[in-house]
Amino acid sequence: MLRYLVQRVIYMLITLFVVVSATFFLMKIVPGTPFNSEKLTDEQVEIMNREYGLDQPVPVQYLNYMAKTIQGDLGYSFQFNNTPVTELLSERVGPSAFLGFQAMLVGTIIGIFLGVVAALKQNTWVDYTSTFVAVVGKSIPSFIFAGLMQYYIAVKLGWFPVMFWEGYEYSILPTIALSMFPISIAARFMRTEMIDVLNSDYITLAKAKGASYLQISVKHALRNALIPVVTVLGPLAVGLMTGSLVVEQIYSVPGIGEQFVSSILTNDYPVIMGTTILFAALFVFVTLLVDILYGIIDPRIRLAGGK
């Protein structure tokens, strides 16, 4: 287990190193500069370049950037009056994290419920409805949901605020839009697992012992079927990250995703790089966490290399 852990952490570091390097060099070759206001004279641009270290050779800039990144300094935003990127992002972590957790929670709970019901009522209309909901939820992009809900529920019916972030009710529509993906993935996965478990010998034994339907489905089947669901949490978190970019933009939620999109449009390199690194770090961390969690919850899983 320890060897496995060390190995995984090393991979994590290599991955992050690759991401940081890649973002740096890609940003160097993108067209456009941060100082393209027509009011600036060449001289002023030169001064600004020197100020931000953009006049040095690329390898030097790279080393500087690496050293700073390791120390947790992601540079300064070009757009927002020299605000440090770390500060800019930390202000925005709150709404994103809140939305992400809420969507994840709502999504997995509803998804697991749908999956279990579908498995218990296999090949009935309940099952077909649940499967259909899952396919539709997985297929339709979250920004379509977000857009349609914003129009029909917020604008037409006026049940919820249309956009912005000024209270709990502002988080409801974005959460629903984001949770469609977790719902469908969790439902499909749960259904397969549950059917698998329901066909296993210990369920037959429980039935033979005369355990009640409720006891069998909850105590024996559900508890065992829940274990592998941990493995889909990783992909779900990634899906939420992708979804958050557009959903936050649609509902004007002041989160990381919205920041990322607006930075792309304004060529604000340090913020783009900082956000990318943050996303990558989150992703790598979640994957590792899920793997470890899985090993702890289910002792039957033998981790590779942990003989």
């Binding site: 991979y11 994590m12 290599i14 991955t15 690759v18 991401v19 890649a22 973002t23 890609l26 940003m27 070759i29 993108v30 067209p31 396919v135 539709v136 997985k138 297929s139 339709i140 992009p141 920004f143 379509i144 857009g147 349609l148 914003q150 129009y151 604008v155 990634v238 990250m241 992708t242 970019l245 557009v246 933009q249 649609i250 999109v261 792309i264 449009l265 783009i272 990318t276 996303f279 990558a280 992703f283 790598v284 994957t287």
Partner: protein, 342 residues
């Protein structure tokens, strides 16, 4: 039951003569892999319906732009933002094709009559007066093109990478697997966005950006299959007979995993459609003149409040396409997956 009273007499039975020549006879014609799979796909009604819809969508993607009397990129300022109106359906008020538009305050306006326009725009027009019917199908065509080409590229790279890695094993495999592991560690959203930032906007850059990350899943699946298949006797036989390595790989091993490859490709098509639309949505899509489902949804979204039809029609189109592809992929997986065959 009445049957109980029935008397069983001896003459009701006769001994069966075992004909040894007939017992070996094969009753049904033997099916090859594809026929067998087709039998199973056919049972999945959702998949069949989806296939029919998909065929219609693909046909319309090519015929649609020609059916409309207007060009997809022809601007006409005096015909801007017209709601959908269809000949014959315009008098049915509950259908959204009557050429009227409900304003935000609830009043109904008749832009066609108000502006003295005789034309019929089946799906309406956008803010530059371009015919949305032609644009939708043109956009479907472009989106499908991007998705299919990206999926094929994924397949090509993934199969080659996976097959080489799995077949040769040892140090090559080790190195290739490490590369995959690092690539898997990076969220593909980030790679796609960064690639698009660097490359000039256009169809080919989007395809490249999608393929850069897309092949990894395929490579992993193919490698696992190759590892399994290369131990089989027919590979040993081919090797003993002196067959060259590429031939063994491409003639003996890969044909045996067509099922897995097809399933994976089918799943990567809707994924590519999604990413194309996603990129348009965050402002990194195709240039404005071009139409793809993504750019249409994005443009529609901006004018959603005043002209909801501009958002809703492309949204339905992209959702339908994605659902249909996913349904077919699911059906194929159930039918082709070797794990389900037992």
């Amino acid at each position: 039951m009445a049957d109980k009273d029935m008397k069983l007499t001896r003459d009701m039975f006769e001994p069966v003569s075992v004909n040894t020549t007939k017992s070996e006879k094969i009753e049904k014609p033997s099916l090859n892999f594809w026929q067998d799979s087709w039998l199973r796909v056919r049972k999945n009604k959702a998949a069949i319906v989806s296939m029919v819809i998909l065929v219609l969508i693909v046909l319309m993607a090519f015929i649609g732009p020609l059916m409309s009397p207007y060009e997809y990129d022809k601007q006409n300022a005096s015909h801007s933002n017209l709601p959908p109106r269809v000949q014959g359906l315009e008098d049915i008020s509950w259908l959204p094709f009557d050429g009227t538009l409900e304003k935000k305050d609830g009043t109904i306006v008749h832009p066609y009559e108000d502006r003295n326009i005789e034309n019929y725009y089946w799906f309406g027009t956008d803010s530059l007066g371009r015919d949305l019917f032609a644009r939708i199908w043109q956009g479907t065509q472009i989106s499908l093109l991007i998705a299919v080409v990206a999926a094929l590229l994924d397949m090509l790279i993934g199969v080659t990478f996976g097959a080489v890695s799995g077949y040769f094993g040892g140090r090559i495999d080790n190195l290739m697997q490490r590369i995959i592991e690092v690539l898997m560690g990076i969220p593909n959203l980030i790679i796609v966005v960064l690639m698009i930032l660097v490359l000039p906007p256009g169809i080919i850059p989007i395809i490249i950006a999608l393929s850069i990350t897309g092949w990894v899943g395929m490579a992993r699946v193919v490698r696992a299959q190759v590892l399994k298949l290369k131990e089989q006797e027919f590979v040993l036989a081919a090797r003993t007979l002196g067959e060259s390595t590429p031939k063994i790989l491409f003639k003996h091993i890969i044909p045996n995993m067509f099922g897995v490859i097809i399933i994976n490709t089918m799943f990567s098509i809707p994924n590519a459609i999604f990413f194309e639309a996603f990129l348009s949505f965050i402002g990194l899509g195709l240039p404005e003149k071009e139409a793809s489902l993504g750019t249409l949804v994005e443009a529609g979204f901006r004018s959603m409040l005043a002209f909801p039809y501009q958002m809703i029609i492309p949204a339905i189109m992209i959702s339908l396409t994605m659902v249909v592809f996913n349904m077919i992929a699911d059906g194929l997986r159930d039918a082709l997956d070797p794990k389900m065959r037992d």
